[in-house]
């Protein structure tokens, strides 16, 4: 049952075929067997998970039948969880037991889910390979010599390897979608403002957005139903009624206008990924969709603009890690400046420091206009490109990543790592919703397809993704290597 979708587990729980305690124990067993190899979890909450599962079973016995009741999930370790270690993948927070819950966490508690643990991630969500975590690399379950993608690599791996039924992630430049693509799962980044950021440790405030990582588009819809909606504790959370995202999953796609950005099929895209996405487009045509080329003229500037905006915001967001009120403090500081500098130099990893430096530089006197202000203007141009394209099409489809997962340790220079997110970053700059769903396999590794929608048109993306998954089974592919290893199917 652990390889089933949330929808299937939910039905089995409702039918009384299985209890939450049983399925929870099954996942805990699987984590115990595989986490040593995959390193997907930083913290496993065995005792509390079983208590929550028991409580869910009791609630069900009393007639509670909410869809996610008793479903075991994992949270990316970027979400603050009360009384549970919350590290954000950093030495800086290696000892930080949060005194409060993120709104997202709170909502899943209210929905009756079971928290299995906290997943590994790139430090402060800065990375595309999960190699920047203070808690070690996460391995791709399809081939453990390969990266799972990042920054939500622990969550993507955990879902792909059936260490949990579903997981949360966060996406600042592709951090849900790219690992979803590399691990062969469904990842969804909602519209900016759709999901509360309260309690989600900030990387780049104007870009960060939490979303689900699941085994199907339907599961993503079920998670989004719980996660979305106004939170007055987050000023950027949008006051907009939340629809039932599962309601329109089955709508036929006849007449759907799909935009294909020519810039996403240009130089740098691997042949396999291109072919897989083109095959998927052909599938959509069979379902009645109309394919149109669209022009995202400024998309080649998105990485440049992003590497100003995100580090600039991050440089300020990470100033609070100063060794004064919580977290890491260096040994025996000789004075205040020494405390700041050694705490931060020892507490942060190389990539985080690099981005703080870039952000600090971009905001420093004399450079603001050339960097930060310029990047904000590019951001406007990129948003305008999307607005124009969406006048003609309903969704935009292209590859999530130019290629399949790469080998651990193979990308040592930051710039080539940054270019990994070339197709995903523009979506964050514009604040749009987008999903990545499995679209094929190459050399034993999964490939992902990105579906971008209009603002608050999550339901349409889910519909388009779900219909594809009704007619193909790429999302059902499982890594055979691990199934044998764990001894459980």
């Amino acid at each position: 049952m652990i390889n089933s979708t949330v929808a299937e587990i939910s039905a089995a729980l409702a039918a009384g075929d299985i209890s939450s305690v049983e399925i929870t124990q099954a996942y805990l067993n699987r984590i115990a067997t595989l986490n040593g190899e995959l390193n997907a979890f930083i913290t496993v909450c065995e005792d509390s998970a079983l208590l929550q599962a028991k409580a869910a079973d009791d609630a069900r016995a009393k007639g509670n039948n909410s869809p996610l009741l008793g479903i075991p999930l994992a949270h990316k370790d970027i979400f603050c969880t009360k009384d549970i270690l919350t590290t954000c993948g950093s030495r800086m927070l290696h000892n930080f037991v949060s005194p409060y819950n993120a709104t997202v966490v709170e909502r899943f508690i209210d929905a009756g889910t079971v928290l299995l643990g906290k997943t590994n991630m790139d430090e402060f969500a800065m990375g595309s390979s999960n190699e920047t975590s203070y808690f070690g690399d996460v391995k791709n379950p399809w081939n453990t010599e390969f990266v799972p993608g990042g920054s939500s690599g622990g969550s993507a791996t955990a879902v792909a390897a059936d260490l949990c039924a579903m997981a949360t992630g966060t996406d600042t430049g592709g951090s849900i979608r790219q690992p979803a693509a590399f691990c062969g799962v469904t990842g969804f980044k909602p519209s900016y403002g759709r999901v509360s950021r309260w309690g989600m440790i900030a990387f780049a405030s104007s870009l960060d957005q939490a979303g689900p990582i699941t085994k199907s588009a339907e599961d993503a819809a079920l998670m989004l139903n719980v996660m979305s909606g106004l939170d007055k504790k987050d000023s950027t959370s949008i006051d907009r009624p939340v629809e039932d995202f599962t309601a329109s999953l089955d709508q036929p796609l006849k007449g759907l206008r799909i935009g294909v950005p020519k810039q996403h099929f240009a130089e740098g895209l691997s042949r396999e990924v291109e072919q897989a996405v083109r095959d998927a487009l052909a599938e959509y045509e069979k379902l009645g969709a109309i394919i149109k080329e669209v022009d995202l003229t400024n998309s080649h500037l998105s990485v440049s603009a992003y590497y100003v905006v995100a580090p600039a915001e991050a440089s300020a967001n990470l100033s609070r890690f100063d060794g004064v009120r919580y977290g890491y403090r260096c040994e025996d500081p000789v004075d205040l400046e020494d405390m700041y500098k050694r705490t931060r130099s020892e507490g942060f990893g190389e990539e985080v420091k690099r981005r703080i430096m870039i952000g600090t530089y971009a905001l420093s006197a004399g450079f603001y206009d050339a960097y930060y202000r310029k990047a904000q203007k590019i951001r406007r141009l990129i948003k305008d490109d999307f607005d124009r394209a969406f006048e003609e099409v309903d969704v935009i489809i292209g590859p999530t990543s130019p290629h399949t997962a790469f080998k651990l340790g193979s990308k040592s220079d930051p710039v080539s790592m940054y270019l990994e997110d070339i197709y995903t970053i523009a979506v964050n700059l514009a604040g749009l919703p987008a999903a990545s769903i499995p679209v094929g396999m190459a050399n034993g590794l999964p490939m992902g397809m990105q579906i971008i929608g209009k603002y608050f048109d999550e339901a349409k993306i889910l519909n388009v993704a779900h219909q594809f998954q009704q007619h193909t089974d790429w999302h059902k592919q499982k890594s055979t290597a691990l199934v044998t290893a764990s001894g459980e199917a």
């Binding site: 000023s235 100033s319 609070r320 100063d322 009120r325 700041y340 420093s364 006197a365």
Partner: protein, 476 residues
């Protein structure tokens, strides 16, 4: 060479909201350290700001009161620097789009002349916590209770030309803020703080000289003294052919001098950028009109009304409106006693003298407005003389009972019984034959002496008018 001084003031005022600018923590003064520091105030990871509507209303209220342009769209920015009392590592403030834009206020100088001083802007920002410097095992202690409290920073145009103007501006600002009820504005407690930018230049020059900034001055008097001393310092340097260094200085009241706040810090680079956790604050004309409609009568308008309605001099009215509480006190006394001029004298001289002597506020006054009004009424209805009233006033400070009870118990009631007065008059005539004779010989002014003798004999209680009349009658 003749020099002229250019001064600009930056005044920080703590807005008296119940909760902090971006969190629901209390702003109550004097709580034990860090008991009013929430997870947001301590900058725990993942916490976010939500803006307090009352801080906005107070800022707009101030803006409307000084006739300022109100920013229909104001934007918060982050000002980045590291300091242990700044938990987030940045202060949220307003750089390019403040809530309050250009306005002005009019000050009255000692010679009675008026001067309009421009206010460049007033922006909303958050306060920092406190570093306590007493020893804690060789370390400093940080209290974040104050961190995140709302401040309004009011920046003047560099149009102030001397210490006197600076103090007049500050006092006027203080009065307005107190009238608006947006802050306690107590300098000694830090709810109003002042930074002074000072430069000098040869008289008539158009370019500004290099300025220095004197930080955190906490009394009007020190502002005045700091400016005198800084101007003298700069003048001496320039006249010796030296050069002023642009820097931050501190005023040392004991030595009456400013000293450089030399810090290891390289020139600050605050790396301002728009605060992404907050959205632009947008207000419309309706909002501004509603705030305007709720404005209280402001000091200038009230002064004019006092002159008009109570026939007071500009000077007296100016003194009485200098604080909202005093003006309100005065109005009660004037109305209840029915004698606005007598009320003005008593309030501006006797009452203010009493308060100043004891360093009391109106709220501390042992003599409430109604009691003072009764006292004045008793002067007017001849129960007591003006002179006896001073004695009663003194008694009222320590005796809480009613004015009449005090007059009664101390036997201070004026003697108006003509029989008793006749006895006094006859006694004085008998004891002062020489003066009586002088009067009869046509030296009319001697009557004053004889009245005085009667008053003395009656211990001041006799009605002087009646005494006067009866004396004349008896000496016919």
């Amino acid at each position: 060479m003749e020099w002229e001084t250019v001064i600009g003031l930056e005044v920080h005022v703590s807005l008296s909201t119940k909760s902090k600018l971006f969190s629901g923590s209390s702003t109550e003064f004097g709580a034990p350290p860090n008991t009013q520091a929430s997870i947001f105030d301590c900058a725990l990871p993942g916490t976010l700001p939500v803006f307090n509507e009352e801080a906005l209303r107070m800022a707009v209220r101030f803006g409307v009161a000084i006739g300022a342009e109100i920013g229909k769209r104001s934007v918060f920015d982050r000002k980045n620097y590291f300091y242990p009392d700044l938990p987030k590592g940045y202060q949220v403030t307003q750089l390019d789009f403040p809530t309050v834009g250009k306005g002005s206020l009019t000050v009255t100088l000692a010679d009675g002349s008026e001067k309009v001083i421009g206010v460049t802007r007033a922006h909303i920002e958050e306060n920092a916590g406190k570093s306590l410097h007493e020893e804690f095992s060789g370390m400093s202690g940080i209290d974040l209770n104050r961190a995140g409290e709302p401040l309004l920073e009011i920046v003047s145009e560099p149009e102030i030309t001397c210490a006197e103007e600076a103090v007049a501006y500050l006092k006027k600002l203080h009065t307005i803020i107190r009238y608006l009820d947006i802050s306690d504005a107590i300098m000694a407690q830090g709810s109003m703080r002042c930074d002074v930018n000072v430069s000098i230049r040869p008289k008539g020059a158009t370019e500004l000289g290099t300025r220095t900034e004197i930080k955190n001055i906490n009394s009007f008097r020190f502002v005045e003294k700091a400016i005198y001393s800084e101007v003298a310092r700069q003048q001496e340097i320039l006249e010796d052919g030296g050069r002023i260094i642009q820097e931050t200085r501190r005023y040392n009241a004991d030595k009456d001098e400013t000293t450089s706040m030399r810090s290891k810090e390289v020139a600050n680079d605050y790396r301002y950028f728009p605060e992404p956790d907050l959205l632009p604050i947008v207000i419309d004309d309706e909002y501004i009109a509603a705030v305007r409609a709720q404005l209280p009568e402001l000091p200038d308008a009230r002064e004019a009304r006092f002159v008009e309605d109570y026939s007071l001099s500009n000077y007296d009215a100016g003194v009485l409106v200098s604080s909202r509480e005093l003006a309100e006190y005065y109005e009660i006394v004037a109305r209840s006693s029915g004698d606005s001029k007598l009320a003005a004298n008593w309030v501006s001289q006797d009452l203010l003298g009493l308060l100043n002597k004891n360093n009391w506020s109106i709220a501390d006054s042992p003599i409430q407005a109604e009691r003072l009004a009764t006292l004045i009424t008793r002067i007017k209805d001849n129960t007591i003389s003006g002179k006896i009233a001073k004695t009663v006033f003194e008694a009222m400070i320590i005796d809480e009972s009613g004015v009449d009870a005090i007059i009664e118990s101390k036997g201070l009631k004026q003697v108006t019984d003509s029989g008793e007065i006749e006895k006094l008059v006859l006694e004085v005539i008998e004891n002062n034959p020489e003066q009586v004779q002088q009067y009869k010989d046509g030296k009319a002014q001697v009557i004053g002496f004889l009245v005085g003798q009667c008053m003395q004999l009656s211990k001041g209680k006799a009605n002087p008018g009646q005494v006067n009349e009866l004396l004349r009658e008896k000496m016919q």
